[in-house]
């Protein structure tokens, strides 16, 4: 059962009814049962992993709180992190390590058949593992007391709107809310529904329709010329934004209807004027997690090296981000490029600020447009590695873009492309308006007729042009 499945459209309204007739002090229990029911419906055995992570995290965080010896606290923290990372490493990296060992043995003429396991990747494991690690570190740093109620902790780690693809939330935000699941008003439910509706638009109308074209091209790199590959490479970041951004909005809207506020995960990323700003607008929950638990401790430890300590910390953080997505060389290349872009920006920050101040470029529309365009190009260029099946394909795309550009664009089905581009236009227009004209609203207009007809139009557009059979969200595979 996923957000775009018919089962979810039956499950969620039923849950809302049961939730609101449950006495307030037992609502957390309703959510816990619903969350495990939701996850068991994906694949029953997956629930064992989130249960294991929950039990381990509960035991070790309680031990951290109950000891006064600093070295013991640290040991409990590190032991829990090690234990809960084990399944993630196993499922994500075992087959790569296995293949690597096998190649190495073969290269020295040793044929030793290693067990090759056909593993089904537990969806969401990357996300709830990070949530659990963040919680463990927060308890160790005394930012939060360990949760005494294992049921509430279990709910935090398995909360169904977030478990499959985030946002990666923090205990400080979520745990207090589970203790105060009060009656909420109609306007908050409507706000939640609006978020869900826009999320469905992003996913079904934009991401999945763009994906029909982009997948045709980028799954067959050798068959297409530079122009087509360039065009598909420009569309792919928008597909990812619409897919994960759409999922996030559905998750946030679902939680809101249940009275729970979840952090924003995207903030109009394609209007960023630098890569540094981009990473404050794209997959915000992951990047803020990496900033708090990887970059800050690293850069703090390396601070005596000044700007070069920062550069080192950036490179390591984004290499970890790349590896979080997957163990393939393409993800490592992707992470390396992000670190490189941000490092160059950090090293040239003062010079750029002086240049902009000297020429009064801060509010120059053309300069801002060039910055936005250049930032998009950089991200799209790095996403070639993020999308490609292997390094050879990624390098082939680059080669063809630079050697066979100007050749004829492959269109395939005109209808798919036209409606994909129309969807993108609506999405980016909405983002543009929110960025520069936030007072102009349609879905949240003061006039109830404008609100009603905007909602109706949006719903009809989703039903008419949504792709309802394209399958999973992109980030399920991470």
């Amino acid at each position: 059962m996923v957000f775009t499945s018919f089962n979810f459209l039956i499950f969620f309204p039923l849950l809302v009814v049961i939730y609101y007739i449950t006495p307030v002090r037992f609502r957390w229990l309703t959510l816990l049962v619903a969350s495990y029911f939701f996850y068991l419906n994906i694949k029953p055995v997956f629930a064992l992993f989130v249960l294991g992570v929950t039990i381990s995290t509960y035991i070790f965080t309680r031990l951290i709180d109950q000891t006064n010896v600093e070295s013991r606290k640290k040991s409990f923290m590190l032991l829990n992190i090690f234990l809960i990372l084990l399944p993630l490493f196993f499922f994500k990296y075992f087959s790569h390590i296995n293949a690597g060992i096998f190649s190495l043995l073969e290269s020295i003429h040793i044929r030793w058949p290693l067990p090759a396991l056909k593993l089904i990747f537990p969806i969401g494991i990357s996300f709830y593992t990070f949530v659990a690690i963040g919680y463990t570190i927060d308890v160790y740093n005394e930012e939060i007391k360990s949760e005494k109620n294992i049921g509430i902790l279990a709910l935090f780690l398995s909360f169904f709107p977030l478990i499959l693809s985030g946002p990666i939330e923090r205990a400080k935000n979520m745990l207090p809310q589970f203790y105060s699941l009060k009656i909420i008003d109609y306007s908050i439910i409507v706000e939640g529904l609006k978020l869900m509706l826009w999320g469905y638009f992003m996913k079904l109308v934009v991401a999945d329709r763009v994906g029909l074209y982009v997948d045709t091209i980028l799954n067959n790199v050798s068959q297409h010329n530079g122009t087509t590959l360039l065009f598909a490479s420009f569309l792919y970041p928008i597909q990812v934004y619409a897919d994960l951004g759409g999922y996030s909005l559905i998750a946030i809207g679902t939680a809101k209807i249940l009275g729970i506020n979840v952090m924003q995960n995207f903030k109009r990323p394609f209007f960023a004027t630098s890569m540094s700003e981009f990473w404050h607008r794209w997959h915000i929950s992951l990047i803020s997690w990496l900033t708090d638990y990887v970059y800050t401790p690293l850069s703090f430890a390396l601070r005596k090296y000044g700007i070069w300590g920062i550069v080192t910390a950036l490179m390591i953080t984004f290499l970890i981000s790349g590896v979080w997505h997957g163990a393939a060389l393409t993800f490592i290349a992707w992470g390396f490029l992000q670190g490189l872009f941000l490092s160059i920006e950090a090293l040239t920050n003062k010079k750029r600020a002086k240049f902009e101040k000297k020429h009064n470029l801060g509010k120059n529309g053309l300069y801002i447009f060039i910055e936005i365009f250049f930032t998009f190009i950089l991200f799209a260029a790095s996403q070639i590695f993020g999308r490609a099946g292997n390094i050879t394909d990624a390098l082939t795309i680059y080669k063809k873009i630079f050697t066979t550009a100007g050749s004829k664009l492959f269109i395939a089905d005109v209808g798919i492309l036209v409606f994909a581009l129309l969807g993108i236009f609506i999405l980016l227009l909405n983002d543009f308006m929110c960025e520069y004209f936030p007072h102009v609203k349609l879905l949240r207009n003061k006039n109830k007729y404008i609100r009603f007809f905007s909602l109706l139009l949006l719903l009809m557009y989703i039903i008419s042009f949504g792709v309802f059979d394209s399958g999973q969200f992109i980030y399920f595979k991470y």
Binding site: N141, T296, R303, K304, A313, N349, K354
Partner: protein, 81 residues
């Protein structure tokens, strides 16, 4: 060390790190209020503060710094030790 003295020294450091001679500190000033104050420049700020006040922060101190007021409190504690 007294708060006014800490504030004066801190002001000089902020103006140097953010290249802004008109920057004025207040207790509730935070990263949201200062352009270019992000996780990258924050560490440069921390190093300058440690050098100026001859103190050493712990990682837990950083987590407690939500604004300039918190920063001054922590510096005051460390310089009085």
């Amino acid at each position: 060390m007294e708060r006014p003295e800490i504030t004066n020294k801190l002001t000089a450091i902020f103006r140097k790190v953010f290249c802004n001679d008109s920057l004025v500190l207040s207790n509730d000033l935070s990263a949201h209020d200062v352009e270019q104050w992000d996780s990258l420049s924050h560490m440069l700020l921390i190093t300058e503060i440690e050098n100026e006040f001859v103190i050493k922060f712990k990682l837990k101190d950083l987590n407690k710094m939500r604004n300039v007021g918190d920063m001054i409190d922590i510096i005051s504690l460390k310089t009085d030790c």
